[in-house]
């Protein structure tokens, strides 16, 4: 049995709820099209978890000189 703290799997239903919470009304066709792209994005973001980021600040204000 999955832990109650485990993240919910990303499905059409969870995506629909997340979208509605942000005021996005996605059709069933939208959800079908977007779900794999969200999953792919999540997979890319998960790769960043192992990056050695101690003492590295964000470059959100990206002045180079």
């Amino acid at each position: 049995m999955a832990s109650p703290d485990a993240p919910l799997p990303l499905t059409r239903d969870t995506l629909r709820v997340l979208a509605r919470a942000q005021g996005l009304a996605l059709s069933e066709a939208d959800l079908d099209a977007v779900l794999p792209l969200v999953q792919a994005t999540r997979a890319l973001l998960d790769e960043l978890a192992s990056a050695p980021l101690a003492d590295v600040e964000p470059t959100s204000l990206y002045h180079m000189g």
Binding site: A33, T41, L44, D46, L48
Partner: protein
């Protein structure tokens, strides 16, 4: 007259300044070519024939009156249709902005005009710059001039800029580059294009895709012409607080033709080794050519590049969604399906993920700076492939299928993430006659060395002088 459109921008400027050619003649030659070819190429969204001829007549009068003139006086240019133009619609390649007419010019548009450049029109692009293929469902997808028989991608998002310059519809154009959108079409269309350092050129008045990844730069037929355009565009702009106050060098003066003693770092791992056979061979040969001119070459590695795709995904998805959110909620059906689907995932990326991406950028940038302390430039292929046919979703690289979009941005995106300057330079052709490009990447704000290497290479090779066969001279 046909030869005139294939002259370099520098030569055009010299011909105008010496009164050998009138700017009116020059502009008419390009407008005639646009009229003859653009029905098929679909490089332009808006042709500004009347205002271009009016500007050309004024430029001609200035020469006759011996007034001081700029470095691009009387030379035609094209603008990707995300540069705001006062009184002229700026669509972003979209239906949403199909009738939007800005009240002022983008800073770089003003600067090109101040240098004497004459705008021929607004160029086609992937809708809102969000795609590396150059697809456009609203205005038609630009046709790559290098294959008149089959409709191939120009590459995006600056697809119209690629088609127009390659086909002789204009000698130089503005592109913009968030993940490769100057370098990808430059490679696929046989052009030289440079993404300058982040902060070198103003983004004020340029429709954003992702503010912290967007770069503005020129696409031309030679490094020398890129130097001419970049000098006219670059420099601090109070309208864009991310622009640097560093002085802008005379890039043309930096083109010495010399690379003797230059230290070149070849990016084999994660770059050259995964490219297609023709691309590997062409870049290897180009590196040997630089070596023959006196450069020293050694292989270098960028260990943190494995995080570039994730960092780019975190940043571009959130920034692009943030810009488009109001329209996605109210006018979502007006987007092309591919662009809408690419924008929506940004709604599901957290603030923590976004900032992790921005922190990883710092890591990648720091490593790039460290590697570039020991070499003067890096060399890599621009793309692992040549221009694919429109409609393809996968590409074949040495017998294995790879997803199209990821393949197109794999080698270019890391330098948007790091912000370093990177040019694409023609370095060969496939057996089918399709162009191959090589990237030259430099230190922050050292576009001069990037352009010097590109120009030195072009002085001893002729890839950049070849023209699409069916279009003739």
């Amino acid at each position: 007259m046909a030869d005139l459109v294939w002259a370099s921008m520098g030569e055009m400027a010299r011909l105008v300044a010496s009164k050998a050619v009138s700017p009116v003649e020059l502009v008419r030659a390009h407008l005639d070519r646009i009229a003859a070819l653009d029905g098929k190429l679909r490089a332009f969204i808006t042709v500004m024939a009347d205002s271009a001829l009016e500007a050309a007549r004024a430029a001609e009068a200035a020469v006759i009156r011996r007034e001081p003139i700029g470095s691009l006086h009387g030379v035609p240019v094209g603008l990707k249709d995300l540069y705001c133009t006062k009184g002229v619609r700026t669509t972003g390649g979209s239906r949403i902005l199909a009738d939007w007419v800005p009240g002022e010019d983008a800073t770089v548009v003003t600067r090109l005009a101040a240098a004497g450049g004459i705008t021929l029109g607004k160029l086609n692009m992937h809708e809102f710059a969000y795609g590396p293929e150059g697809l456009n469902v609203h205005y038609g997808t630009s046709w790559n001039p290098w294959d008149p028989a089959a409709h191939r991608f120009c590459g995006g998002s600056s697809s119209g800029s690629g088609a127009a310059v390659a086909a002789g519809l204009c000698p130089g154009a503005l592109g913009s580059d968030t993940g490769g959108s100057i370098r990808i079409p430059s490679s696929l269309c046989g052009l030289t294009g440079i993404k300058p350092t982040y902060g070198r050129v103003s983004r004020a008045g340029v429709l954003p895709l992702a503010w912290s990844l967007d770069h503005v730069g020129p696409m031309c037929r030679s490094a020398a012409d890129c130097a001419l355009m970049l000098r006219a565009m670059a420099g601090h702009d109070p309208r864009d607080p991310s622009t640097s106050t560093l002085p802008v060098p005379d890039y043309a003066a930096a083109l010495t033709g010399q690379v003797r003693g230059l230290r070149v770092g070849l990016l084999r791992r994660s770059f050259l080794e995964s490219a297609g056979g023709p691309q590997r061979q062409a870049v290897e040969l180009a590196v040997r050519t630089l070596e023959g001119e006196g450069a020293s070459v050694r292989e270098v590695k960028l260990e943190q590049m494995k995080y570039a795709a994730g960092a780019a995904a975190a940043v571009i998805s959130v920034e692009a969604y943030a810009y488009h959110e109001p329209w996605l909620k109210t006018r979502g059906a007006e987007y092309g399906g591919d662009v809408r689907e690419r924008l929506l995932p940004g709604a599901f990326v957290s603030g923590a993920d976004y900032l992790r991406g921005q922190r990883v950028r710092g890591l990648i940038r720091e490593e790039m700076d460290r590697v570039l302390a020991d070499v003067d430039v890096l060399i890599a292929p621009t793309l692992p492939i040549a221009a694919p046919p429109v409609g393809a979703r996968e590409v074949d690289i040495d017998g294995r299928a790879h997803p199209m979009r990821a393949s197109l941005i794999r080698y270019t995106r890391p330098f948007n993430v790091s912000g370093h300057p990177a040019a694409s330079v023609p370095c060969g052709f496939t057996a089918d006659g399709l162009p191959i490009g090589m990237q030259v990447i430099g230190r922050s704000f050292d576009e001069a060395t990037v352009l010097r290497v590109a120009d030195a290479y072009q002085r001893v090779t002729d890839w950049h002088t070849r023209r699409p066969p069916s279009l003739g001279r």
